[in-house]
């Protein structure tokens, strides 16, 4: 799965333009599922039918989002510099010094108005992108073009470094779960969603269309294990996290205990997560139609929404084990 994570992290896919990452993920689903389709907003839906007949089999939606945060060009000036707007929760103070790249391969570096020595705190209005052009005509990008953050994929032991572990690591976990799940009493609706970073939009429509009986999101979560972090129990390398609550959602107690009991039964390390900011696709599907019991399996990740995110490979492996064992058995009555 390590190679898969690295591969997925290298594919372009800002919110609203997920076609390339969708194509790559579709390739990896070959032979793993019974049906693959794309819906009206661009969500990739892979259906794996139940292999074991059981009255307690459920329609379970698993959601990992394909999209990543980025920037969009709003104006190209006469000298070829680009003004931009952000896509998703980009942290302005991480921009100076980071690099973006466009779908057509053009690179962009961030610059800031004024003297580099008298730097104040950057605001998006004071920043611009240098795309290697000397004039508007010369620039190989135009208004409406998008770019994503790129830093080389790295690893130190089991610690993984990339700009978009959020949520390509979740996509990898979902693909690997489909691969390892040999038999299940449940109908698995694996959805690689779009536009999560701009307001869980893909999950909103996919949840409505699929009418699942249970929703599990697979996403990254913040940690409390670095200097002066917001007090939070979650840390890297201590296992996948089972969500209790985040900014928009409280997990269904039965879904949460199903995951917790599975982890305990199979001796899989896990941590409980209370996240004070951010949310996941599960929050949208939970309130779809007449309501869906919701939970989230999270992969702890430091510096989420910065161009250098850090996660632990073992937590991703743990998430796969947790999901495979939970989905392979019956949902508690």
């Amino acid at each position: 799965m390590r190679a898969l994570i690295e591969e997925l992290c290298s594919v372009f896919g800002p919110s609203g333009q997920e076609e390339r990452i969708r194509e790559v993920i579709t390739g990896h689903l070959d032979g793993l599922v019974d049906e693959v389709r794309t819906d009206r907003l661009g969500n990739l839906i892979a259906v794996k039918r139940a292999t074991v007949k059981s009255e307690r089999g459920k329609r379970i939606m698993l959601a990992a989002h394909m999209d990543e945060i980025g920037v969009m060009v709003t104006h190209v000036d006469a000298q070829g510099f680009c003004r931009f707007t952000t896509i998703g929760g980009v942290l302005t103070n991480t921009l100076i010094g980071s690099r973006v790249h466009f779908a057509n391969g053009v690179e962009g570096a961030f610059g800031m108005e004024g003297s580099p020595l008298a730097r104040e705190r950057p605001t998006p209005q004071k920043l611009f992108l240098d795309v290697g052009a000397d004039s508007k005509e010369d620039a190989r990008v135009q208004v409406g073009d998008t770019a994503v953050f790129r830093s080389s994929f790295g690893a130190v032991g089991d610690r993984l470094f990339a700009a978009n572990l959020d949520d390509r690591i979740g996509c990898a976990v979902l693909i690997e779960t489909l691969r390892e799940l040999e038999s299940s009493p449940h109908e698995i609706l694996a959805v690689f969603t779009v536009q999560e970073e701009v307001g869980v939009r893909g999950a909103t429509t996919a949840g409505y269309g699929l009418e699942p009986e249970i929703i599990l999101a697979i996403d990254v979560t913040a940690t409390g294990d670095f200097p002066q972090a917001t007090p939070m129990e979650v840390g890297l390398g201590k296992g996948a996290a089972i969500k209790v609550m985040d900014r928009r959602m409280i997990a269904h107690p039965k879904v949460r205990s199903w995951l917790e009991e599975t982890a305990q039964a199979y001796d899989i390390p896990y941590q409980l997560e209370v996240l004070e900011f951010g949310s996941t696709d599960a929050a949208a599907v939970q309130v779809s139609r007449a309501g869906v019991p919701a939970g989230t399996v999270s992969i702890p990740c430091r510096y989420v929404h910065s161009p250098s995110q850090v996660a632990d490979y073992n937590d991703a492996l743990g998430a796969v084990r947790l999901l495979v064992n939970a989905l392979g058995s019956e949902y508690p009555s």
């Binding site: 333009q17 794309t38 907003l41 709003t74 707007t85 409406g144 536009q195 701009v198 909103t204």
Partner: protein, 338 residues
């Protein structure tokens, strides 16, 4: 220049009080459409079947009837009125403006304390402003407050209130009078300015295959010190949104519009991405999702009593939409989502 546009601009209707605008549109469109209904929140939905029965394709066009304005919160004994904003009123432009209140359009002026005017260092928040009617009466808490401004020509431009989004209502009404291969549903929506409330409900009921929101949008083309985006510019044709705070446009629809414009020599411009939001925000998330895009007439000074727009932009927006509906927009979308 145009009687319907003038009537719509002069009509008064903040969120929750769209009745007058609705009545004008009902009367205008009744002879031209097959079905006309008003739903529980107040959206006016008009429908017209396609000219080509082999085409199974339902296009919803949406334009919102409400304008930004205020609401009477309290009427004081001395005839002054406390009000609050309904939608995004800019407190910087309020002092000294003329308004009309309630169903009887009682005139009033917005005043602020003299000391606030003298120092002028701080924007006076709406909660510190009052309306003076001279003790006229004839209204009560909950009644709407609207800007008062004539509809007239300013050189080559048009001036009036509520072009956001009465110009969209106008374009939509004119489009409904035409004939296209697809089924066409016009949704004149309510409560856009307080959270795109009507459009989501309309899209849920209509279940369109694709949707286009017709808007009056920000033009920020005043002279600037730096070479930055004007958002949109007057006289450069309809603006097409790629992405704003409420939605990403379906890129296939963006291409249909830009290609149609180019094919017919209609000028067009991209709106500065990331600015504002439209009814597309709730429409594209209705049910299983609806591919959608926003097309707008550039307007200077929207959300003030006196907006300006270029009549050629209105004409070009109408032309673009009409050509698109007769062409690829009136046919089922091909290809996958991008």
């Amino acid at each position: 220049m145009n009687e319907l546009l003038e009537k719509l601009s002069r009509a008064r209707g903040v969120a929750g009080h769209e009745g007058e605008v609705r009545a004008i549109l009902r009367e205008e469109l009744a002879p031209h459409v097959e079905d006309l209904t008003v739903d529980s929140i107040g959206n006016l939905i008009v429908r017209k079947g396609g000219s080509d029965s082999s085409v199974r394709h339902r296009v919803m066009l949406a334009a919102h009837m409400d304008e930004v304005g205020g609401m009477v919160i309290r009427v004081n004994g001395d005839g002054t009125v406390k009000f609050s904003s309904v939608g995004g009123l800019d407190p910087r432009i309020l002092p000294g403006k003329r308004v009309t209140i309630g169903a009887q359009a009682v005139p009033g002026v917005i005043m602020r304390a003299p000391h606030a005017a003298r120092t002028g260092k701080r924007v006076t928040p709406i909660s510190d402003l009052m309306i003076d009617t001279g003790g006229a009466g004839g209204f009560e808490p909950g009644d709407m407050v609207t800007f008062e401004s004539d509809y007239e020509e300013y050189g080559r431009l048009l001036k009036g209130k509520a072009f956001d989004d009465r110009v969209g209502c106008y374009v939509l009404a004119e489009l409904m009078k035409g004939s296209y291969p697809c089924e066409l549903v016009g949704a004149f929506t309510v409560q856009e300015e307080i959270g795109l409330r009507g459009a989501g409900v309309a899209a849920y009921a209509v279940e369109p295959d694709v949707a286009v929101a017709l808007e009056g949008t920000v033009a920020d083309d005043l002279p600037k010190e730096h070479d930055v985006s004007p958002t949109t510019e007057l006289g450069r044709g309809p603006s097409i949104s790629v992405m704003d705070r409420s939605a990403h446009a379906d890129r296939r629809l963006v291409r249909i519009l830009t290609e149609t414009a180019s094919a017919h020599d209609i000028p067009w411009q991209f709106k500065q991405p990331g600015v504002g939001g439209t009814d597309v925000g709730t429409i594209h998330l209705a049910r299983e999702g609806v591919p959608a895009v926003a097309v707008a007439v550039p307007c200077r000074y929207i959300h003030t009593p006196a907006a300006l727009m270029d009549p050629t932009d209105v004409g070009h927006t109408l032309e673009l939409m009409s050509k698109a509906l007769s062409g690829p927009l009136g046919r089922p979308l091909g290809g996958r989502v991008e």
